[in-house]
Amino acid sequence: MRRIRVARAAEKHGVNADPIVQVRDLTVDFDTVEGRIRAVDGISFDVLPRRTLGVVGESGCGKSVTAQAIMRIEDERTCRLGGSIVLRRGEDTLDLLGLDRDSTQMRELRGGDIGFIFQEPMTSFSPVHTIGNQIIEAVRLHFNLGKPEAAQRAIEQLRDVGMPNPEHIMNQYAWELSGGLRQRAMIAMALVCGPRLLIADEPTTALDVTTQAQVLTLLAELQDRHDMALMLITHDLGVVAAAADDVAIMYLGCIVERGPAASIFRDSMHPYTQLLLESLPSLTRRRRGALKAIGGTVPRAANRPGGCPFHTRCPSAISGVCDRVLPGPTQVAEHHVVNCHLHDPQ
């Protein structure tokens, strides 16, 4: 897939900048009929300013839950969070897990500092309220503006995301728009309060392929224009390859490998990452023959295997080690960390 970049200098965004969000030892547990299930098992990563972090993993690996935890929009009845999510605001830092979900401070951050784009633009808009109504509401939640001013701002934002005829769109319902336009409206709503971090949870999954590329290009453009950090959550390694600066590969609630995109794609260390890359249809690499699929199936979160979560499917698993001990992080290159016994010096 073509790399989606908008005339961007390779090292424009520093890898060494202070992170906007530092996630440390995040755990997410769900209370279910079958007992307490760990969906995210102590993951750590940083989101750096003006860079795109791609979080990749199969459905159910915990990537969406992680995103929801940062927004604190997790299901409060069944979901228990642990660890820390530290947000930097200027000189201050703030642990989001220490805040009450419905507190004023958290509500200010939500939609203000952090914008969120959902997978399904159709159902993510209320079917009985107009697009305009919902964007204006977002503006007025964070800015002390009257309705006309807020509407003006909403229209500008719609124009900013390349929406044709924004004044008309304002009075339409989400179900009257095409999929691509709906997702643009969703992006406009997420950006209307000028967030420093935009989290996009599978923003292209529900769209057809041509629209996917448009939306990814648009996100990249907007990121440059508004100096935002972008956390792009997807199951599609192709999307990450096209758009991300940094990559975190998740499997069954763990980050198995993370680092700068270039390093990961060039020198992937974790067997899972390698298998994922091999299963990616490639136009650039000269490789023929059938695509590889990863053998076996993902265990259910309720039945997490002991030791390394991937050992049940790993072709290079070391018996007696991988099925016993959870591998710790090993730095293999600058900022490139892998959790795998194969690369563990011990």
Partner: protein, 336 residues
């Protein structure tokens, strides 16, 4: 019948109204037949009554009575006569009361409607906030308490509740719950004062009546709200930084109200049934006790008329609520 997608509001009204007319017709047939089911007729029980008191009518006058009431005609003819009269508002004579049925029913209608409407208003007025609370704080002690209480409200039949209330009222408050009028209004003609006095005394009976329906509505609303609250658009609104209460009031409640409105129609027959039995237990002078007396005395014109009128009330109420709903939510017209 499957509705065409392009059916207009006018067509829908026509369709729903015609169904209601058919239903009322069927109800009239059923009411009439039911009343004719018992062996013998009013004249025979009337004669039996007369012979007890010693005033035995001659065979000739009995036949005369039968002819007067049309009892010698075949069933179909009798039905047609009766139905023709009913359309004109003439339900014949009550044999027990020796009065026009329509006048008698008119007298009892006021309190019947008052009880039913008050019950409906209470059920709705209480169900909304409780359902909202239960959905927002699901799993809380309050939700648990309301839900358990609601289950009991649904489960315990109206008449048992009324009976318990009657007992408690009598034992501990020395009050007769069936006394709808204060002493000074008992024999007074209807006036604003008498109206509000009756309304006040109706509160407890109406609450008893409302409890089951309210509990049902709470469940419907709670389920609908929970359904809507897990929808992505609610999470979107939350991600915008909305306060939870504002959010629930603006988004899910608006969408959860539609199925809620559609349950009015379904609750009306229940409500009327309930008002009948509650007023029989508490001895409130509504159509309920009147119907019971009429049935016991084989006063067939009165009994059929009451049955028909109660059914018609339910059918017309359901029709109105359906039309209201189709006006609020155009999707209904396409679905039904």
């Amino acid at each position: 019948m499957r509705a065409g997608k392009s059916r207009s509001l006018g067509n829908f009204i026509l369709y729903r109204t015609s169904i209601s007319v058919v239903t009322i017709f069927a109800a009239s047939v059923i009411s009439f037949i039911i009343i004719q089911l018992p062996p013998g007729d009013f004249v025979s029980s009337y004669v039996a009554q007369l012979s007890q008191t010693g005033a035995i009518g001659s065979t000739e006058s009995i036949e005369q009575l039968r002819r007067d009431y049309g009892l010698d005609q075949p069933m179909v003819v009798r039905y047609l006569r009766w139905a023709a009269g009913a359309i004109r508002g003439d339900f014949g004579m009550s044999l027990q009361w020796n009065r026009e049925v329509s006048g008698l029913i008119g007298e009892y209608m006021g309190l019947t409607l008052m009880l039913a409407v008050l019950g409906l208003l209470l059920a709705w007025g209480l169900a909304l906030p409780i359902g909202l609370y239960n959905a927002m704080y699901r799993g809380s002690m309050g939700d648990y308490a309301f839900s358990a209480f609601g289950m009991i409200g649904i489960a315990v039949p109206n008449f048992l509740l009324a009976l318990f209330a009657l007992f408690i009222g009598f034992r501990y408050f020395n009050a007769d719950l069936g006394a709808i009028h204060s002493p000074r209004y008992v024999d007074a003609p209807w006036s604003v004062g008498r109206f509000f006095d009756a309304l006040w005394h109706m509160l407890v009976p109406a609450l008893i009546l409302a409890l089951a329906i309210m509990s049902r509505l709470v469940r419907v609303l709670r389920a609908n709200l929970l359904d809507e609250m897990s929808r992505p658009y609610v999470v979107t609104a939350r991600a915008k930084g909305m306060r939870e209460l504002t959010l629930v009031l603006k988004y899910p409640l608006r969408l959860a109200l539609n199925p809620f409105v559609s349950t009015i129609g379904l609750t009306l027959p229940t409500l009327i049934s309930g008002s009948i039995i509650v007023s029989m237990v508490l001895n409130i002078p509504t159509l309920g006790p009147l119907l019971l007396q009429a049935l016991q005395g084989q006063d067939m014109f009165l009994a059929s008329a009451i049955l028909l009128i109660l059914s018609t009330l339910a059918v017309v109420g359901t029709l109105l609520s359906d039309l209201l709903l189709s006006w609020i939510d155009p999707r209904i017209r396409l679905e039904s």
